[in-house]
Amino acid sequence: MSRFIIPKHLEVPLGAVLPAPVKEQPGMITGNWRTERPVIDHEACTTCLNCFIYCPDACWHLDEKTEQMVWNADYCKGCLICINECPANCLEPVNELEFPDGVVRLEKPF
């Protein structure tokens, strides 16, 4: 037992309760880094969630009602990692100016 004694000054409470980061962070919009966006073919998508796991900006999630993947235009930075990781090949890069939506138009880059 003696091996597990922690000196008093190093004691920390076991764990803490923090609010989960469930909301978006409007101070760090990355949507304007994008030159191409991934466009999904819902017919071919198997909802395997690879894109959800690999997206560095958590821009894909599964809508449980429609059972379709949903993409976030404000934060997708166009790295196209999801396309690389999609086993069903149902994502395709398309130039951003083909779409009228997804405009973030920030006043300053930082």
Partner: protein
Amino acid sequence: MSQEVYEVTIWARGVFQDMEGRHASLLMANAADLGGKFVQAWDDYADLPDRVGVPLRKYVRLSDEEIEMRFVYVNNNPNLVVIMDDTIVKGMNILRGMPKGGSLIVNTRRTPDEILAFIPNKELLANIVCVDASGIAADAAIDFMGSEGGVEVASVGAGISAPLVGAASKVCDMFDVKNVVKVAANKDGVQKGFDSAQVKAL
């Protein structure tokens, strides 16, 4: 502040256009310098170090008199805005601070009207110039030397900056296309950019 100083803001994409953006600012400054103007050209310090695809700013100031705007490191009222990648128009308010009657140069395969659809404050513009600089400079080798403050006088203007600045000289009378050709590495590209630019007056 008096508006005798002609301000240029260049928007480029981080990392893969960082050097080209800087070259565009150097080309304008060098060409205007040959024409006897007073010049300044520099990068936006706050935008660096850049990350892939992040919108970056590069600046130029051109004037007939000595430029006395010391310790001001951003162009708050650009008369000319250059966009090195057309998709930036969706992500930034690129005409912010522009005095009425400014010019916009865009590297794009699209037409001026297609670009204007993405610009809500287009009443500030006197004209817009679209040029397919990426297409013109496609065969020019792109390398990352000269990124992050390196100085490479011999190869300034080898890529997309050459046709873009050539096109810019169509609407900007602070530098002449002949002088841009003199200072750019890709002289053909400057001339092609000048010749193929689509100008639309507003």
